[in-house]
């Protein structure tokens, strides 16, 4: 029982930085603290740390400027692509196929960029952004009323978004050229689709994350070594 409790203490300490984790767990072991007391102490420290991070503006930018609006828009984009695929036929004109491919690229590119930006901006409080994403998803899932489409079509954006988040949390470097190419192509596609009657003005919310990534990359490269 004691070993299992101590495993729980170590698991509870994982959100802490590695040095702090070592120091805290070492202190608990040195002072012979009981596992229950140790668990409460560690949880208290984790909560205090998270509270400190949440006092910053960045996690809230990630929630209200990114997670909430982009989840809604990306779900809309996912459904529009699913509807288009539903009516896909061999005798579709070349232009319609091209439009579908462009929308697909837009969905994957924007989802990835939103995930990456969210992971970069709110690295230590990512769980808050994650929860904020769930609300619009659950709302749309409950209210989805398209009989010809599966409810799963709402979440076509999820895999590229999760991929983007993972890359951000692993501090993967994106080359400046690729970042600017992605930003330019997404913006160009948005402008192209803006005349479409089904285009939401809110779709423009998907453009800032990709430019944020490009600007952040440019700033990092411009810094003197």
């Amino acid at each position: 029982m004691t070993n299992r409790l101590w495993s729980l203490v170590e698991m509870a300490a994982r959100p802490l930085e590695s040095d702090t984790r070592a120091a805290v767990l070492g202190d608990l072991e040195e002072t012979g603290e009981s596992a229950w007391r140790g668990l409460l102490d560690v949880l208290e420290l984790v909560v205090r740390r998270q509270w400190q991070f949440l006092k910053d503006w960045r996690p809230w930018l990630a929630v209200f400027g990114l997670a909430l609006p982009s989840s809604l828009v990306l779900m809309g984009l996912s459904v529009s692509i699913s509807s288009a695929l539903e009516t896909f036929s061999d005798d579709m004109i070349h232009e319609a196929v091209l439009q579908l491919l462009c929308r697909g690229f837009l969905l994957i590119g924007c989802s990835w960029a939103c995930g990456f930006a969210m992971g970069s901006i709110s690295r230590k409080t990512f769980w808050v952004s994650g929860i904020a994403c769930c609300f619009p998803c659950l709302l749309c899932l409950v209210r989805f009323r398209e009989p010809s489409l599966s409810r799963l079509c709402l979440f076509l954006f999820l895999l590229p978004a999760i991929w983007g988040v993972r890359q951000a949390l692993r501090s993967t470097r994106i080359s400046l050229v690729i970042a600017f190419l992605l930003a330019t192509s997404i913006t160009t596609l948005m402008i192209t689709f803006a005349n479409n009657k089904s285009f939401w003005t809110l779709n423009w919310v998907l453009v800032w994350p990709v430019w944020y990534i490009a600007a952040a990359r440019y700033r990092r490269e411009a810094q003197p070594i």
Binding site: A22, V24, E44, R48
Partner: protein, 109 residues
């Protein structure tokens, strides 16, 4: 000005000298105040004091008693000493005339 717990921490760390690290500071505070000192409060305050430049910290040696984990060593900076002295002076000044304040000879000041 320093807070009460910040003062306790700085004073405990200054008293421990080269042996000032998390567990030792915590034990010193608990034995002096007779109150439990939570690890959460301790490390949060150490971080805050370090941000203010009142202490510096670094990872010390690991020991078998700590399961091979390193200690977080704490040293009070000159700025921290100055801040602690200010706090002590203020508390001393404001306490003059208080009925519970006595000098070394046991006379009420």
């Amino acid at each position: 000005m320093l807070g009460e717990f910040e003062y306790l921490l700085i004073t405990a760390a200054a008293g421990l000298g080269d042996n000032a690290y998390g567990a030792a500071i915590r034990e010193e505070i608990e034995s002096t105040t007779g109150r439990r000192c939570s690890i959460g409060a301790l490390y949060t305050t150490i971080d805050r004091l370090e941000t203010k430049g009142l202490v510096t910290t670094w990872m010390g040696d690991a020991t078998p008693q700590r399961g091979g984990r390193a200690k977080r060593m704490v040293r009070v900076t000159p700025k921290g000493v100055h801040a602690a002295k200010d706090f002590y002076d203020v508390v001393t000044r404001v306490s003059r005339g208080a009925s519970w304040v006595v000098d070394r000879a046991g006379r009420t000041l």
